[in-house]
Symmetry: C3
Subunit: 339 residues, 3 copies
């Protein structure tokens, strides 16, 4: 296990030590679990009261928070510094090294010599894997698909044919990229399959969660913009586009041809109908069902989703319905008495 002095940690995160800068920490832990050998952090004001009772040996803090009696590494942004310190304490990566003899790599592929391929992974005909990327056990890279530099494709991921994945992408276990879109032309009770001849273009710095499914375009491409972060078990239908930096929490579902802007954030289990547009920087609360387009910058919530203030007002009205029924009854009685 790694060990660092607070001086070393402060240097790594661009901070300063308040207290004993030669103090050594050998682990990183949550404020409630931390012991004297651990460094911890507080980025959320709701946990500041725990600073008085923590057993941590040191704490990473932003400006304006005091921690009497504790060694402090003072930084501009405690959450960002925490991420850097996490990386310092991270165990060895558990990725394949080199190309396993037990992988199948078709003849006409282009696998960079610095790439790694695990046992029982398949790099199918014409596929390309760029420098320093790892294709883990049981993952499948389809015909003519390409994976950029410094990617991690975790075990049992399926990337079908003609898909493009950018640099520094991380695709978590058992995710699927490039499955057929869901389209049928129904004639006299028979659902004829619409061939899905398009593809998926995944940008740089994208994460795709475990078990997520991203369909290929019917024609053209389903597009996942640079820097998008997609959580587990998310469903992205054919010809959806996500602008750069958009974040989708777990189990979100987006129906076909919907265009989502940049830096949009959706909570878990949100559903969007097809063929709508969601503007840049929109935020959508968990489990919302979105039936129509949303202008840029708005915050929506509910089923059906509406601007959040409207939904909250409606919820307040609904909570007071018992009172409203009573008032109407009182009016009726009063009027009755008056004859």
């Amino acid at each position: 296990m790694a060990e660092y002095t607070l001086e070393e940690i402060a240097a790594a995160v661009g901070g300063t030590v308040e207290g004993d800068q030669s103090a050594v920490v050998s682990g990183l832990s949550g404020i409630e679990e931390a012991g004297p050998e651990d460094i911890t952090f507080v980025a959320n004001p709701k946990y500041e009261s725990l600073l008085k009772i923590t057993n941590a040996g040191a704490v990473i803090l932003g400006e304006g928070v005091d921690a009497p009696g504790l060694n402090v590494v003072r930084v501009a942004d405690a959450y960002v510094a925490f991420a850097r310190v996490l990386a310092m304490f991270a165990p060895e990566p558990a990725l394949p090294e080199g190309v396993s003899d037990l992988a199948y790599i078709a003849a006409d592929t282009d696998v960079d010599e610095s790439a790694a391929v695990g046992p029982f992974a398949v790099i199918d005909a014409g596929a390309k894997v760029a420098a320093r990327s790892a294709i883990c056990s049981g993952a499948y890279i389809g015909r003519g698909s390409s994976v950029g530099e410094d990617c991690i494709i975790y075990p049992n991921v399926t990337i079908r044919e003609r898909v493009t994945v950018g640099d520094r992408a991380i695709i978590h276990p058992n995710a699927v990229v490039g499955s057929d879109g869901f389209g049928f032309a129904t004639v006299e009770g028979v659902h004829h399959k619409i061939p899905q001849i398009g593809t998926v273009v995944v940008g740089d710095d994208v994460e795709i969660g475990a078990g997520a499914a991203i369909d290929r375009g019917t024609m053209g491409a389903t597009v996942i913009g640079d820097g998008c972060k997609i959580d587990n078990l998310v469903q992205i239908a054919h010809n959806v586009t996500l602008g750069k930096g958009t974040i989708l929490a777990a189990q979100v579902g987006i129906a076909g041809s919907t265009k989502v802007g940049e830096y949009v954030v959706m909570g878990g289990q949100v559903g969007l109908v097809g063929h709508i547009e969601v503007g840049d920087r929109v935020q959508i609360g968990a489990q919302s069902g979105v039936p129509k387009s949303i202008p840029p910058g708005e915050i929506w919530f509910g089923y059906p989703a509406r601007p959040i203030m409207e939904t909250k007002r409606t919820e307040a009205y609904i909570r007071r319905l018992g009172d409203l029924y009573a008032r109407v009854k009182a009016l009726e009685k009063k009027l009755e008495e008056k004859g």
Copy 2:
């Protein structure tokens, strides 16, 4: 890339050319993206206005739609014709050919000589794969299971033991068919597993989406009728039955023993409780939560789901609650003034 004259395309889709029948197109594209080398289509009236500004070289249209100045392939049903033309432009299929030396095929299996099996696929003891079916890389066909003719079983699919899959089925990557149903008998705080000794029967012409999960029956079978189309990440519990031609959009969940009729359509993220019946040709709106049986032919929506007109009326009442509170307040004031 394929090239066709409009005459060739018209012949293929049973249509007629209005304009230059010797004009050549080399691609198929959406009306907004199409260039002079592309053919496009309009099947949805909402896109008809784009006919005036498209750059497409030709357009597939049904009756009653005009496109002055454009080469038109006139057909009875533009959407069906579009599906056929998509197939004409489809790239080579990216499926395994022949049986890979790197597959594992148990001794007593029955794999047709025209079937294909990819690297690291497993055909377990007693399993059967019929003519022209493709079992892709990393897929698992369990003991005694059978896959019909002309099926595609995509990479990393798991089909457990004693499951029957009909002809022309397509099972998308990482889907699971035949997992244990979720049943426990709880005695004094211990959840004892109910053995799930049944199976799954998948009909002909079925599609099962990426990452979908279809549990086996506790006893008897979970049944997916002929022609059912199941989208990604759908959950089908033990002993559910789906009638023929039923369509389930992504992330639908159906609890145990529920019987769904023929030609039912469910939007994304719909949930159904167990032990209910959904009649033929029922339609259920996205994200609905269905707590009870639905008679044939009805359209339901909402949480909890109700007949759609009822839900829409209720939504209208709810939207006007602010006004209702104001009216009640006005009444109170008026009555107060009258003393």
Copy 3:
């Protein structure tokens, strides 16, 4: 197929025969499908009326239910007895036997000699598989992870590095345990990944459903308590804890750091926000969206979720809104007439 006399069955389930104890049954079936060669059961009063018309050769019944003319195996708990009889009729297990030559087992692993490993499964460096456990085809056991005794890890499961799985766990096909938690620190529009250096601890007697995803802790562990039963396509985020005996139906999603107590039951598609606490023995109805902590023992339902009586009262108020509008209109008219 197995055959048993009713005397043998009664002995196995600790019951007594009322009728012909030498009668032989060769199958187990639902009460509607059962024929003279089958034994069936009724545990739910709603099916008791079918006792008059069933063709079953025998029926398992608890106290207080009559079945004139039928051979009865009388027991204390019909559902528990049914589970035992199911096991008596269960076909041979379809699991790997021994260690396949086609598996990859890294050099420094500890795989018990009684364990089984299927073709194309991977036991990565430093991993441990204890006695009598089966690791099926295409499953991946990550570096330094351990699987306890008598476990079943079904095909194409991915267990990432440093995960601990207890004894008698069953992990269904294509589930993922130990994927990265979903955490980012956003600075000037760039989402920096928070390294996820924690792990997952899965207790004894746990089931994890097909395609489910359980993320590892950011620091520390995501914890699945002993005896938890998790259905298909469930999402468990980083640092969630589930107390023992908790049951999650399909497609539930639980956001990060939420603490769920013991013997909690959630219906399908329930969503919980992060950083809340759900007390012991709480029950949450299907599709509920839970925005805050729930005290022990309560039953909640709705979107947003509330105590169930409150939600039901609100639903009743909402259903009667048409009537309320009419009453207010009548009051207005009456007051108008009075001038």
